[in-house]
């Protein structure tokens, strides 16, 4: 009898030992998301110092459909993610391959490359805002010195989004570089040497050998950067706050305004869920494309 109890305990111990982790997971992940879902179908108002929740899913959904800023924000976000991540991937890969070929000074190059990631986003926003300043910024001073007309970097609807994307590229290329550089360093030298002996050019080595071997690292960099790009907020908020007009309004910036400036908690939660859904959909499509690429 006693032995059977001990056996039963031993058999179930592995399940019980998971309990603390399960509790933590529920408390830190499931509960906040469940609360967000509950908020997204409610109107939350405050009266007499207390929050009052009313179940209004149709009302919140009607706000989503009638939101005239959301759709430009969604388009801007998509452009931002696609352009910024594509350029970052290309530059990150190029730099990783270049630095990997250096005989000396790899460590120094890596250290210098990583600096932009270390700068806080608030400092990046302030620094670039000064550099982009129409009257006092270094870019326009350089252009004027060269006899060219100053550019309205952050005040023109046709340039502002590109200016913001440039800052994001400057900030995040080092991340892609670091991930891919580690992967490039891990590619066996003998494979490259064998290709050279067989007469492969540098371009062929990169296209036919390096990129296929780097696919797992490329996928990781792409997924991480895409998720972070979808959530970009601080740089854009500091540089333009979404303006001029809606030209740099991203969904995250719009979400901030709805949540914190307009205090629409229920609708803000619904927008958050919409953003999460967009990220999941984007990742699913990317994963599908990568899987198709692998099988091809």
């Amino acid at each position: 009898m006693r032995q059977s109890i001990v056996v039963a305990l031993n058999r179930t111990f592995k399940h019980w030992s998971l309990l603390p982790a399960v509790v933590l997971f529920v408390a830190l992940t499931i509960f906040p998301i469940a609360n967000l879902v509950r908020m997204s179908v409610s109107t939350i108002e405050f009266a007499e110092g207390q929050a009052r929740w009313t179940f209004t899913p149709a009302h919140n959904f009607s706000l989503l459909l009638a939101d005239t800023v959301l759709w430009p924000a969604a388009v801007n976000t998509l452009v931002f993610v696609v352009v910024a991540v594509a350029v970052e991937m290309a530059l990150g890969l190029g730099l990783a391959l270049l630095v990997a070929r250096l005989g000396r000074g790899k460590g120094l190059a890596r250290t210098i490359m990583v600096l932009p990631i270390l700068v806080p986003a608030v400092a990046i926003g302030s620094m670039w805002k000064l550099m982009y300043n129409y009257d006092f910024g270094v870019f326009n001073q350089a252009l004027t010195a060269l006899g060219m007309a100053p550019v309205n970097w952050l005040g023109s609807t046709s340039v502002a989004l590109a200016s913001v994307i440039l800052v994001d590229i400057w900030h995040w290329v080092p991340f892609v570089f670091l991930v891919l550089f580690a992967a490039v360093e891990g590619v066996p030298n003998d494979v490259i040497e064998a290709a050279r002996i067989d007469g492969a050019t540098d371009a062929q080595i990169v296209r036919r050998i390096m990129i296929p071997l780097l696919k797992p690292a490329l996928a990781i960099a792409l997924i991480f950067r895409s998720i972070l790009a979808f959530k970009t907020f601080d740089e854009v908020f500091l540089l333009t706050s979404g303006g001029p007009g809606t030209s740099t309004e991203l969904v995250s910036v719009h979400l901030y305004k709805v949540f914190f400036e307009e205090n629409q908690l229920g609708y803000g939660a619904l927008l958050s869920l919409a953003l999460i859904a967009a990220i999941v959909a984007f990742l699913a499509v990317s994963r599908g494309a990568l899987a198709a690429g692998r099988s091809a």
Binding site: F46, Y134, N152
Partner: protein, 452 residues
């Protein structure tokens, strides 16, 4: 009998002496005696006038022995800190400072205690400026008004915009200080020389910046966002011909007098342009004045003057108030509420307000502006400020104010950057604002749309 007479005379003499002494004490000690109080913590914004507030608080501590902890917070963090404080079980602050546009959320949410509930005898001194009664909340009307409203907050700072101009440049060009926007346009014709010099600058950035500055034009032309919010009539009138004329005038001034990036100019940019000598004039917040006379920050020390914001030639003078409101959270113990009120009482005295002004802040008492300080060249902005208080008003003082600001801030900016014409921008704003009021069951309606 004689002894009675002597007694009465002595009593009268004592009484007279007493009155004299009291009168003299009142004149010489214009601070309130608030007694011993427990320490308090104040959530305060680190705006340009913070140094003045800090210095005045130091004097309070020295005079009374009461301790005050200041949590100086950048503007961007103020609202969330205040929300977190009042929505929790117990506020970590005994006084919270709220921008005028945030107050309604806090009043309506029932997060604050009316001052008279802390001390039924408390009233604002009659000299204290109420800034369009933004510290009062009429819960029945959901509107800020002393008429049937309770005192929820007092203002430690009240801003109107001032029209700051370069006296030296204007004199050299034979120009008088501008009184109308048409004067400004005439001055720009002489002074505008981009990118070396801009004739006149004002905020155009999306959001609060353009909304606030444009409303000076709107009020000057006699236009309004809604017909009569105090009376419960929320008919949207923002697309009236007067409002369109106001927007067209604003756009004209922005384009003919400002830089090419007029649509992204914020308060910091204006201060920078004027203090570096790149702008000959501009609409700036009164709290920014010290930047122009500070030799460590300014290339135009002693060269700028201030006048009231110009009016449209066919309009009236107008001013919009943008003030801060100091309130007591409900979720603090009674002793803390009393200590917060004691500080408030002391801070609003004539003595404290003079110290506050001398330390670089903007006082909130009428008599401080009328004192000898106003004659000092250092405070030469005071005349314009006080003049504008005569007709200054609060806008968007209703529950939907924050959302209306978002709508106007976007549509006006779109008109400025050329994404839509003025009529289309105002029609779009009117439609969105009316929808908002409908959803909140307000008595609303609209005007016939402007021809686009």
């Amino acid at each position: 009998m004689k002894s009675i007479q002597r007694g009465l005379c002595a009593l009268a003499a004592v009484a007279l002496l007493g009155i004299g002494a009291a009168g003299s004490a009142g004149a010489q000690q214009p601070f309130a005696d608030v007694g011993k109080q427990p320490p308090i913590t104040i959530l305060i914004n680190s705006s340009p006038w913070y140094a003045g507030f800090e210095k005045t608080v130091e004097l309070y501590e020295k005079q009374t022995g009461n301790k005050v902890k200041l949590d100086a917070t950048p503007y961007g963090g103020m609202l969330e800190k205040a929300r977190n404080a009042v929505r929790g079980a117990k506020s970590s602050y005994d006084l919270i400072n709220l921008d005028t546009q945030w107050t309604i959320e806090f009043y309506e949410g029932g997060f604050l205690v009316p001052y008279k509930e802390v001390d039924p005898a408390f009233d604002l001194p009659k000299e204290v400026l109420t800034y369009g009664e933004s510290g009062y909340w009429n819960a029945d009307k959901r509107f800020r008004s002393a008429q049937g409203g309770k005192l929820m907050a007092w203002s430690p700072n009240g801003n109107v915009l001032l029209y700051v101009y370069r006296d030296d440049l204007f004199k050299a060009a034979g120009l008088a200080p501008p009184k109308t926007w048409e004067d400004v346009l005439a001055a720009c014709a002489k002074l505008q020389d981009p990118p070396k010099m801009y004739g006149s600058v004002m905020r155009g950035e999306r959001g609060n910046g353009i909304r606030f500055d444009w409303m000076y034009f709107m009020l000057g032309k006699g236009a309004a966002v809604v017909r009569d919010p105090a009376g419960g009539d929320y008919t949207v009138t923002i697309n009236s011909p007067q409002a369109k004329a106001a927007l067209d005038l604003y756009l004209d001034v922005a384009k003919r007098c400002g830089p090419p990036n007029a649509g992204s100019l914020g308060q910091g940019d204006l201060i920078q342009l004027i203090s570096t000598g790149k702008a000959a004039a501009g609409m700036v917040v009164s709290a920014a004045w010290n930047n122009f006379d500070d030799a460590t920050k300014s290339a135009v020390v002693g060269k700028v003057q201030a006048v009231p914001i110009p009016r449209p030639a066919d309009g009236k003078p107008a001013a919009l108030l943008g003030n801060w409101n100091m309130a007591i959270p409900k979720n603090i113990p009674d002793a803390q509420r009393k200590a917060a009120l004691a500080f408030s009482r002391w801070f609003l005295t004539a003595g404290a307000q003079r110290v506050y002004a001398e330390a670089g802040a903007i006082p909130v008492r009428d008599d401080t502006f009328r004192s000898d300080l106003a004659q000092n060249p250092k405070y030469r902005w005071m005349g314009a400020y006080l003049e504008m208080q005569k007709y200054a008003s609060q806008e968007l003082g209703y529950a939907e104010g924050a959302q209306v600001e978002q709508i106007l801030g976007l549509r006006l900016n779109q008109a400025l950057i050329g994404e839509m014409n003025s009529a289309k921008a105002l029609n779009a704003a009117a439609k969105e604002i009316e929808e908002l009021f409908k959803k909140n069951n307000r008595r609303t309606g609209g005007l016939t749309p402007l021809p686009e």
